[in-house]
Structure formats: structure tokens, C-alpha cells
Symmetry: C2
Subunit: 113 residues, 2 copies
């Protein structure tokens, strides 16, 4: 089946700034119990997703477009761009910020530990 | 951890044409038993991944760039482009072709049934 997901808009996601546009590639049900989200995320300039912990699950980010700052499990702020894979272990924290003047676009996959 | 995956090149993937460049976002081990691949795939113009069955697993494609033909479980040939989510159920078949003159870029996630 081919479909074109429409975005869901989240404000101040995880305590971050501005809006995040979430394009779900599959539904939670379609992930068949392995996790709860697989989506393309778009953070406009000036926006962010606040630092948050993933208990009993993990979430790699894969950067597609734009310029960002990845905040890793140690709180280190790491510049990221297209092609970067940003991983944490289950139980660790992360966050991400748009550090440029264009949209920051990345894939997010949340799966169980 | 931030890293920039390098591509693995596959020739005539699943009986398809030309090369496919596979950028693994995480390793199979990092997927913690849920499946065996999460990658950005690049098919240059003229190339394809042949039709193949996913027994006991499934694989959504999410199109990022370019123009493609998705061959679904019925053999129907469906034009696809950026933003399209192309799903099959476990046990079904699919394939994909680059139908344009630029790279066809998409995400592929293989997880267990």
C-alpha cells in the first residue's frame, strides 16, 4: 500500500522550542509490538526537542537535511548534519536543536530495549 | 554517539539492475533483535531492487528523493515520490525501481513479523 503521511504538529516537544512536524511512516500498530514510532521529523529554524530519557527503549536519529546540535547522554552538544547517525543506549537521554536557518529534517525510530 | 555511515554497495540486488548504495543507520546488533536492517538506500538512475518476498518479516519503504515505481504485493506498479510510505504485510513481496533521471533515495526498515 502506498500512502503519503500528513504531519502531526507538536508544540514545545519534550520542553523544546517551537513546533515539530511529525510524519509517521507507519502507525504504532504496524510496528507489530517492536516499538512505538517511526517517523520523519521536521524542526523549523529556532526550534528544538528538549532533552528526555528513553526508559526501556531507544531512539536513533538519522539526519537528512539541515544543521543541528545533538545533545547526547552526557549532555555534550555535537554539531550534526546530513548523513549523521545519532544513537543512544536504552535508558539514556538525548535532545536535538535546529542550529541553522533552514529546516532540520531527520528520521526517528523508537524501539523497545 | 554520532557517526556518519559509509555506504555498502550491492550489485543487482534481489535480481535488480545496477548498484544500490546502502547506508546503515544502525547495525543489526543495535536493532536489539527486532529486525535486521535500518538504512538509507540510494538507487541511481536506471537501477532497481528486484521483486522479493519477506517471509516472517516486513519492510516499509519511505521515499525521500527522486521518482520511483513501487511494485506491490499484487505486482501493481505504482508511481512514488518524496513523502510516500510504501508498506507490505509480512509474507508479501515488493520491489522498487528508479523511474527518473536523478537518484532515488529512500529509507528501508526490515523488522520481524
Amino acid at each position: 500500500m502506498v500512502r503519503k503521511p500528513e504531519p502531526v504538529i507538536r508544540e514545545n516537544m519534550r520542553g523544546g522550542r517551537g513546533r515539530v512536524y511529525i510524519y509517521d511512516v507507519i502507525s504504532k500498530e504496524e510496528f507489530l509490538g517492536h516499538g512505538r514510532m517511526y517517523a520523519k521529523m521536521v524542526i523549523p529554524p529556532g526550534g528544538s526537542i528538549g532533552v528526555h530519557v528513553h526508559d526501556n527503549e531507544t531512539e536513533p536519529y538519522y539526519i537528512l537535511e539541515g544543521t543541528g546540535i545533538f545533545i547526547d547522554e552526557n549532555g555534550d552538544r555535537i554539531p550534526v548534519g546530513p548523513g549523521d547517525s545519532c544513537t543512544i543506549l536504552p535508558g539514556q537521554s538525548h535532545g536535538i536543536e535546529n542550529a541553522g536557518d533552514t529546516d532540520l529534517v531527520f528520521m526517528a525510530l523508537i524501539y523497545n530495549a
